[in-house]
């Protein structure tokens, strides 16, 4: 995991061993998933819904930007790096320029630290390697709860 502008030095993670210990989301957080891979879309949507999160899925960065431009708000935006039409880095820059008040988290299959750092510099709060796991979602929920 790479930490970005929103990171705190006093992070703590609540490790989860099994599905029955998942955190109950009573905050009604909304999540936007931007990824062009139908497999990843399905996985991320399922993972997030298990935590009681409301999920919307788009297949490229432009659709993510357009949604926010037209007034949709999300607590969390999970964004892939490589997408057609508009990639994750460009979409992140646009979202930041719009002043979107969301935790923006990159979820990429790029494993080189250099590439992850380049993605971070677009304005991400965090960057995870795919695939999303229960631990990572728990971490993000803790961050969302802190900010709210």
């Amino acid at each position: 995991m790479v930490l970005g502008k929103g990171a705190s030095s006093s992070l703590s993670m609540n490790k989860v061993d099994g599905a029955e210990e998942m955190v109950d989301n009573s905050n009604n957080f909304t999540v936007l998933v931007a990824d062009d891979d139908p497999l990843i879309q399905k996985l991320h949507e399922m993972h997030l819904k298990k935590f009681g999160l409301k999920v919307q899925v788009v297949e490229n960065g432009k659709k993510a930007v357009d949604l926010c431009h037209f007034g949709a708000t999300f607590n969390l935006i999970l964004i892939d790096k490589e997408m057609p039409v508009m990639d994750g880095a460009e979409a992140t820059k646009e979202l930041q320029a719009m002043g979107v008040n969301s935790l923006i988290v990159g979820v990429t299959s790029r494993d080189s630290p250099y590439e992850k750092q380049a993605f971070m510099e677009a304005g991400l709060d965090y960057c995870f390697e795919k695939p999303l796991t229960a631990d990572k979602i728990n971490f993000l929920l803790q961050e969302l709860n802190k900010n709210n």
Binding site: G18, A19, D37, P38, L39, I40, K42, L43, M46, H47, K50, S109, R110, K130, P131, T133, A134
Partner: protein, 150 residues
């Protein structure tokens, strides 16, 4: 312990997929997402994987027929394929993908071709094993029925 012989057989089959290195922890993550509302989630995801990755396999095959090799393009296709394979816990397939990418980075065409043949074998083997596993799972029925006979 499973009383139902079919469920025991299913459990043995499942364990062997992990013991023989075909699957890793990510497959368990998929299983944990399956529930009564989505009882076939794992099979749906695996089906989606084989449907989508077929396109990538074809892309690599076609790219390997063109000389000289475009290693950037090959690496790009394999990067996507590796990501998908990783998402379903396809351990051996992922390992071959990683090796293929290393050969791309070092510009080793022979290595790419050799590794791609091995990758296709692992990909096909896993598919057969998972198909057999899901077929048995369907026959064995839901866990609750098996564990709590009427």
């Amino acid at each position: 312990m499973e009383r139902n012989p079919m469920r025991r057989q299913l459990a043995v089959m499942r364990q062997s997929l992990f013991d023989q290195g075909y699957l890793d922890e990510q497959f368990v993550q998929l299983e944990e997402l399956q529930d009564d509302a989505n009882p076939n989630f794992v099979e749906e995801v695996v089906t989606l994987y084989y449907r989508d990755s077929a396109r990538l396999i074809l892309n690599v095959e076609q790219a390997l027929e063109r000389k000289p090799f475009d290693f950037n393009k090959l690496d790009g296709y394999m990067h996507q394929f590796k990501g998908s394979s990783s998402s379903i816990g396809a351990k051996k397939v992922k390992a071959e993908s990683t090796l293929f990418r290393e050969y791309c980075k070092s510009g080793n065409g022979e290595g790419c071709m050799r590794t791609f043949q091995q990758l296709k074998k692992e990909y096909a083997t896993l598919r057969k094993k998972l198909e057999a596993y899901f077929q048995l799972a369907r026959q064995a029925g839901p866990m609750e029925t098996a564990c709590h006979p009427k």
